[in-house]
Symmetry: C2
Subunit: 348 residues, 2 copies
């Protein structure tokens, strides 16, 4: 009999078809390696040197507007460019390359330099969700764009180069590899069951209750059964919609609430501004029937035991298989136990 | 026309079938984010608190022998255990898990606490290669073992928890996911061409010369056309062998020389002890015909521009596609330019 909390085992990621190795007994391992710097900075509400603060000058000389809620612009150091000419290269099938056209945008979540999503109020987060939806719709109007990746890197340890709360959108002419994997698995499932893979998955999780962190009218937040990062979670819409453009005003408000609650729980876990990379997965655009796609958002946070000890996905993980020490069930328990009020505003 | 050094483009990793996004124009991006600590420690040749030094006591009370060359033992905090009972779990195809049996070993590369591979002499590295071969052969004798992952995490930023030079071997009852990918692509190619994928690939690279760093009698070291990490390299054997057990004494000596030269070039690049995760990919064991497999070893180093600025594989990379700024050709040039003598021993 397989005992999840004692026996090393693998779990299947049903979205990618790939496995993760779980070593539950290993959480007792003492840590003698690198510890991260503890970031307990007090940031000013406005920083004259920040290229995201209202009315400041950016790298290319443009001056930001004195914006109210959130603000979007094309990344001054875009990894993808709109004017890239089409082109292909193939030598013997061994060296294969193809040009990639795209647009990279930056979204400031708030004019306030000192805030982060969990410290913003729900209305302000709703404005961010609105902007995501609008940007998605605008970008999807360009028929050469096939996929729109909305994401956020939060925290210096996640390669975020500016603490001003912001996210990014990279839109491009081809469907990237992680999205292709999820596309294939969702298509298979939908063809067989005429229901979306994630509808059935969250129904099952809602029955089990073991890994659910948040359950409101329109969304659930769950530690996936196959989570690889220690406190990895996924937000899934209860309604089967394929992308963010289909969310109603009510759903958008609920998504904002879910984001707020989840990120507050994260911050409370180790009483720190919890770093992560988060991103939505949704249907490709301008690319035929997408009814098999079910919108969801992944959170991949690196911290393992404290504000300064993270999980390293290195040698074995890079060469062989993602590996985790604590079980997803244990991680879910820890997140469920957290208060729903941000630790900084708690009077105790 | 696709211009590799100007146009954003994707390249195909022929070993995994997955793409990497190359943004050559983006290397001009100024870096304002996290910088890593510069590690310029002077370590003693022997550290009484190190669990890998000769004659010291380990976590479980065992005392290390006073070993001469290298030394191997079962990891005191193994992620895989030998006595894990078989077991499976499947709920509706949505929650799938399987127990995983395995053995995790640690190999101290040298009794000297203060050395690393590039600072060891060739004979000492040969002893490590010998031990890898012997361990591989011994582990492969257990018929329940299907794959043997030999790897090294070097440097605190790669999650290495002890600077004493060492690597690891994880052997397990199932073939892990990255190896499965490479297995499938190599099998396809071999079925079609009756030659190994990597034989044809290195022949082509040897013609082009653009990305080859080292070319000796038995091995090449190349920055793969599809490299994702800034200074990623791959060592490939010229002879098509499927695993390390098939290497002759001559080949093993040449592998040691190649490892020494490559890691010296790495250290010289930024005049620092260059961090990386490295690992061999080779044929599964006890698992039928493996003639399509071609032994190789990957090096995934995180540094991008200096000893303290690394590449972050985060938001876009995790959600969508690995991404790099400098081209593999530029990286190869930088590595080719380095001296073949370690910077610490250079008198200038
Ligand atoms: O066993 P170590 O060196 O302490 O641990 C290191 O390597 C392992 C295998 O890649 C990883 O799972 C750990 O996250 C990392 O810290
Ligand atoms: O664009 P940023 O925030 O400066 O850069 C960050 O996010 C990008 C997208 O995930 C990564 O490619 C970079 O490595 C990372 O530092």
């Amino acid at each position: 009999m397989l005992n999840f909390s004692d026996h090393p085992h693998t779990r299947l990621n049903i979205l990618t078809g790939e496995k993760v190795l779980v070593s539950p007994h290993r959480s007792k391992r003492p840590w003698q390696g690198q510890v991260e710097d503890l970031v307990v900075e007090q940031r000013p509400a406005y920083d004259p040197n920040c290229y995201l603060c209202p009315s400041n000058k950016r790298a290319d000389g443009t001056v930001n507007p004195d914006y109210g809620d959130s603000f979007v612009f094309v990344n001054d150091f875009s990894a993808l460019l709109q004017d890239t000419p089409a082109g292909q290269y193939n030598d013997s099938g061994l060296l294969q390359a193809e040009s990639e056209r795209g647009i990279c945008k930056v979204i400031a979540f708030s004019p306030r330099h000192d805030l982060t999503l969990p410290e913003m109020d729900q209305k302000a987060i709703e404005a961010v969700v609105d902007l995501w939806q609008q940007e998605f719709e605008d970008l999807a109007k360009k028929d050469w764009i096939k996929y729109i990746q909305i994401f956020e890197n939060k925290g210096a340890i996640m390669g975020c180069s500016n603490p001003h709360p912001h996210g990014q959108i990279w839109a491009q002419g081809n469907v990237p590899v992680e999205v292709q994997k999820e596309d294939a698995r969702q298509q298979d499932y939908y063809a067989k069951h005429r229901k979306s893979l994630l509808s059935d998955y969250i129904d099952l999780e809602l029955q089990k209750k073991e890994r659910i962190i948040i359950d409101n009218l329109h969304f659930v937040a769950v530690v996936p059964f196959w989570a690889a990062w220690p406190f990895e979670t996924m937000i899934v819409s209860k309604r089967h919609v394929s992308d963010i453009s289909q969310f109603t005003t009510e759903e958008k408000a609920d998504l904002a609430k879910t984001l707020q609650e989840l990120t507050i729980r994260y911050d409370n876990l180790f009483s720190t501004s919890f770093p992560y990379s988060a991103g939505m997965h949704q249907a490709p655009v301008n690319d035929g029937d997408q009814s098999h796609w079910h919108w969801h958002m992944h959170f991949y946070p690196p911290l393992l035991r404290s504000a300064t000890v993270k999980k390293f996905m290195v040698g074995y993980e890079m060469m062989a298989n993602p590996q985790r020490d604590i079980t997803p069930e244990f991680a879910a328990d820890q997140l469920k136990k957290q208060a729903n009020i941000h630790y900084k505003t708690r009077k105790d």
